[in-house]
Amino acid sequence: MLDMGKVEIWTGNQAIAEAAIRSRPEVIAAYPITPSTPIIETLSKAVETGRLRAEFIAVESEHSAMAGVIGGATAGARVFTATSSQGLLYMMEMIYWAGYGRLPIVIGLVNRALAPGWSIWVDHQDAYSMRDAGWMQFFAKNNQEAYDLIIQAFKIAENHDVYMPAAVNIDGFVLSHVAGQVMPLDQKTVDDFLPPLNPLFKLDPKNPVSFGSLTLPDDYRLLRQDLLDSMERAKTVIENVSKEWAEITERDWGGLVEIYGSETADVGIVALGTIAEEAEEAVDLLKSQGLDASVIRIRSFRPFPTEKIAKLARNYGKLMVIDRGFSFGSSSPLAMEVRNALYKNQVKVPVYSRPMGYGGTDVTYQEIAEVAQEVFKEEEEW
């Protein structure tokens, strides 16, 4: 039960901005874009009023926003920014620089469809565009989890076994502009959980080194191998940080994966973000109709919980993957991940890809239940 006297009614954007403020970033460089703009506005105001002691750099583009936080992070500062959709695409060269450069940056990514056609509403195509940039990618299902994930993301990203950037994704408008109940944490609790950044390396005039210089093939290979290994280690760190968080806040969101319903069912519904929470309602509805389904919510898309999904999948008759994005010429990105996990571990469970909710299409629990009912009946083609 919530202590209702302390609960705030915050939009997802407010929740992200407030969590960022609690995390005490030292540098914020940002450029506004719908639907993430209110995050930037809140942070800018917090710096202006002295609530947050940070350098706020109002830049002229998203490319510069990421370049700005790269500069800050390279100098050993904790940094934050936020963007969406076209803004992320414009930022992309620097996104790769941050990922391959191993800088523990945290970004609030408010998911929005890509143009054209021009859309300001949610899908996950923007997030998928940065899949291979060496970033961790987390997805929140509600505003409270968005708040919690920002603070956790700093801790995970700055862990020396991981040391890489992280994106916290929330669904545009569906979370960013919808006000939900959020229980904030006091500064001391956050400070105890998240100590100041201890840089693994940084620009230091007394001890000059160069970053991003020409790298010959053998060294390049070592750098990428290190990134691969760090992503693997991140899986354990994410699980541990989630557990620590649950002990402090009594809010257990699961680690890499959250299960709703039983760990064995006829159909497991795999999804990201708000659709996964909406699917919890669908599972309850299906149960009332005598159908046994569960939700397998992927909280961390990168690193992807390959082993965990393969292990879980053995307990389900079928998997139904709801995706809010595409990989043109192949199948949907989330279904690909799930199939890869199963194949790699020789788990023979049918995976049905049932994409929904592009470009802001509303997805109701009734619709999810209807699609699931068909999957229950499916016999062959998958």
Partner: protein, 202 residues
């Protein structure tokens, strides 16, 4: 297990989105779970807007927009027929409307209750006027609570204090909320049916 899906009909600029937030805070102070959904996308002054609120006694897991709210608050009485040409209430839910009497167009609807009060007049009386327009949104919530009993009026007052601590209209809003609450007439479905028969007999 009460689950309320509420629609607030207003015109752009009347503060329908803010009202959703106030209602969500009020529900929170009542120990309930809530979320407030604005109309997404482009906003234009004067255009019809629906914002919606979910008030549940369990965590709100639904994120989709509410297309057919069962409890409606309309700041402008012309908006209900505009949004809902046909009745879908089936004896459940409610309409609360800013009107001195129940508009005849409303006879087609079959909610369990219709509450009505001239919010405009009450708001004006308490000096809730800014740049020529009357601030009816907050007072209308008093009428909504009277009609629906979804939350306690004390929780609404607490929510108003939380949301607008520095407003020069704070006291006036509190008073107007109470007056709207007191003055709201609530008709049940049976009473509505009688009224409808009387009108058609004439």
């Amino acid at each position: 297990m009460p689950e309320y899906e509420i629609g607030i009909l207003s015109r752009g600029g009347q503060g329908g989105v803010t009202l959703g937030k106030v209602l969500a805070y009020a529900a929170t102070y009542d120990g309930k779970y809530a979320s407030a959904i604005p109309k997404y996308g482009a906003e234009r002054r004067g255009a019809p807007v629906m914002s919606s609120v979910r008030i549940f006694d369990r965590p709100v897991k639904r994120h989709a927009q509410i297309l057919k709210p069962k409890d409606i608050l309309s700041l402008d009485y012309t908006l209900v027929p505009r949004f809902y040409a046909n009745d879908f209430f089936e004896g459940m839910g409610s309409i609360t409307v800013n009107a001195a009497e129940i508009p005849q167009e409303y006879y087609r609807y079959t909610p369990a209750k219709i509450g009505f009060v001239n919010v405009q007049e009450i708001a004006k009386k308490h000096g809730l006027v800014k740049s020529g327009s009357t601030l009816i949104g907050i007072p209308a919530l008093g009428a909504f609570i009277r009609t629906t009993n979804i939350i306690r009026i004390d929780s609404l007052h607490k929510a108003i204090d939380k949301m607008f601590p520095a407003s020069k209209y704070l006291e006036a809003n509190h008073k107007a909320v109470d007056e709207c609450f007191d003055e709201t007439m609530v008709m049940t479905l049976d009473e509505l049916k009688e009224m409808k028969m009387e009108v058609s007999a004439k």
